[in-house]
């Protein structure tokens, strides 16, 4: 593997990070929205979300990517590889994030909500001031865990022609017939990316502990 090969790995890393970040930025709030629909037991919508989560959790990323990439143009929606990849990652992680948020919401202490109601808070205000500030802290470890899983699952989108870290490594290996060096380099790059996420989580948690006395 030469310098050009290493540069292509870094390019792949940029794409992996970019697509994963977009997936996370879209998937975390979307997951919360889905969880709220289920938590509030909105008729019909709640069942739709339950089916969505079941289907998405059961669909492998590769299959989902191919489905989106080949099916959407057939119903008149042209889709390029990168948007298809973003859609794949966002929809997938939203389903898992929904379950993380839902667990936090289900566990949330009912008396607090009743107290908020008694104090005259609207449901929206109670959510913003009472519920959300607590559930995001309890959900943080699970959410970061899901983020790292998403990053590691992202090579699936290579099937669309997007060149992520793993695909870049495959290309180098198939040109040189020496797959070991590019894959070792790829592993180190993944490790570095995941480390940033885990560090960020630790930093936020320790900040919370200092500020509020609990994480």
């Amino acid at each position: 593997m030469n310098a050009a090969g290493f540069a292509s790995l870094l390019q792949g890393a940029a794409l992996t990070v970019m697509l994963s970040l977009i997936g996370i930025v879209a998937g975390v709030p979307l997951g919360l929205a889905l969880a709220l629909v289920r938590w509030a037991r909105i008729p019909l919508l709640s069942q739709v979300v339950a089916v969505y989560v079941s289907v998405l959790r059961a669909t492998p990323l590769v299959t989902l990517a191919l489905l989106i990439f080949f099916a959407l143009p057939n119903i008149g929606i042209p889709v390029d590889p990168i948007p298809a990849a973003i859609l794949t990652l966002s929809l997938n992680t939203a389903a898992f994030n929904c379950e993380i948020w839902r667990a936090a919401l289900t566990d949330f202490a009912k008396p607090q909500i009743e107290a908020a109601k008694a104090a005259g808070m609207t449901p929206g205000l109670a959510f913003r001031r009472i519920v959300f500030p607590q559930i995001w802290r309890t959900s943080l470890p699970a959410l970061v865990n899901e983020m790292t899983l998403l990053i590691k699952g992202s090579p699936a989108i290579a099937v669309l022609g997007a060149v992520d870290i793993t695909r870049a490594a495959v290309r180098i290996g198939s040109e040189t017939y020496e797959p070991l060096p590019p894959f070792i380099a790829a592993t180190i790059i993944y490790f570095a990316i995941i480390l940033v996420f885990v560090r960020a989580q630790r930093t936020i948690e320790s900040y919370m502990t200092r500020r509020f006395g609990f994480a």
């Binding site: 050009a4 489905l67 143009p73 695909r167 040109e175």
Partner: protein, 286 residues
């Protein structure tokens, strides 16, 4: 690496194989809904989309970040001949033919083996090379000396490939000496298959003679080329079935490349030898 291979073999690989099976099924189910652009439509919109691979050396691979190989050179020549722009999508094999038969790409500009199954949904140009199937083994593996020694050995081969469809031929050859094909391991692409062969997880890998010659030239201390395990086999470019004008345009181009000797030159450059007696029309038996 071994960790990666493990996870691929147990997880991703299974999924990928599922996806390989899934993609063509999808393509067939939806084939009527979308259609590849005809030559008129291509001229009108001003561009054609071709799909190529990135890990099929020496036909198509990526060298220092740029597409290289026989097909990359042919594509460059084609670009000079046509009046419209050619957009190139570099994608893994898994979704490539499905993408052409669903109309996502206009041409599979890759070394796709002409097979009986594929001619049902695709039209092939005249062949770009001779690709008789050979096997490759680990250098120094004395248990394999000739074809009959392949009896019961573990075979590595690409999933969804034309090579896989012609295994009955090897089966017939082996049956003559009372042998049969052992366990068959399918891979999404050949680099993994070669790696597993080197690691002794498989005993031999079947691919076209061109690909294997390239492999053996590059890694003479690891791999050794065996004998032919199939009759004649030819790779060619493909368009969606019935896209006659586009096929004619590509065939005219290819005939020209043959006549001027340009194709022979490129074959020498990438394969080390030229194939001068390639057929114009090839009707696959398998």
């Amino acid at each position: 690496m071994s960790l990666f291979l493990l996870s691929r073999r147990q997880g991703l690989h299974t999924l990928a194989v599922l996806a390989v099976g899934f993609a063509p099924a999808f393509a067939i189910a939806l084939a009527g809904a979308a259609s590849a652009a005809t030559l008129d439509e291509i001229k009108k919109r001003g561009y054609m989309i071709v799909a190529t691979e990135d890990d099929y050396k020496p036909f198509e691979f990526i060298q220092d970040g740029k597409p290289a190989g026989l097909d990359a050179d042919l594509l460059a020549a084609l670009r000079k001949k046509v009046s419209f722009e050619i957009k190139q999508e570099i994608i893994p094999w898994t979704g490539l033919l499905a993408g052409v038969s669903t109309g996502k790409y206009d041409v599979a500009l890759t070394a796709a083996l002409i097979t009986k199954e594929r001619v049902q949904s695709l039209d092939f140009t005249m062949p770009i090379a001779d690709a008789t199937h050979y096997y490759v083994k680990r250098k120094g593996d004395d248990s394999i000396k000739e074809i009959k020694d392949l009896n019961g050995k573990v075979l590595g081969i690409q999933a969804g490939s034309g090579l896989l469809q012609r295994l009955p031929e090897l089966e017939t050859i082996l049956a003559k000496t009372g042998g049969k094909i052992g366990k068959v391991v399918e891979y999404t692409s050949y680099p993994e298959a070669y790696q597993d062969l080197a690691l002794s997880r498989t005993d031999f890998v079947i691919n076209t003679v061109i690909n294997l010659q390239s492999l053996v030239n590059e890694k003479p201390n690891v791999f050794a080329l065996g004998q032919a395990v199939s009759g004649p086999s030819y790779p060619a470019w493909a368009v969606k079935k019935g896209n006659g004008e586009l096929l004619a345009l590509l065939n005219d181009f290819m005939a020209d490349e043959r006549k001027t000797g340009a194709l022979a030159e490129l074959q020498k450059k990438w394969f080390g030898k030229s194939f001068d007696n390639l057929p114009v029309n090839f009707t696959p038996e398998f």
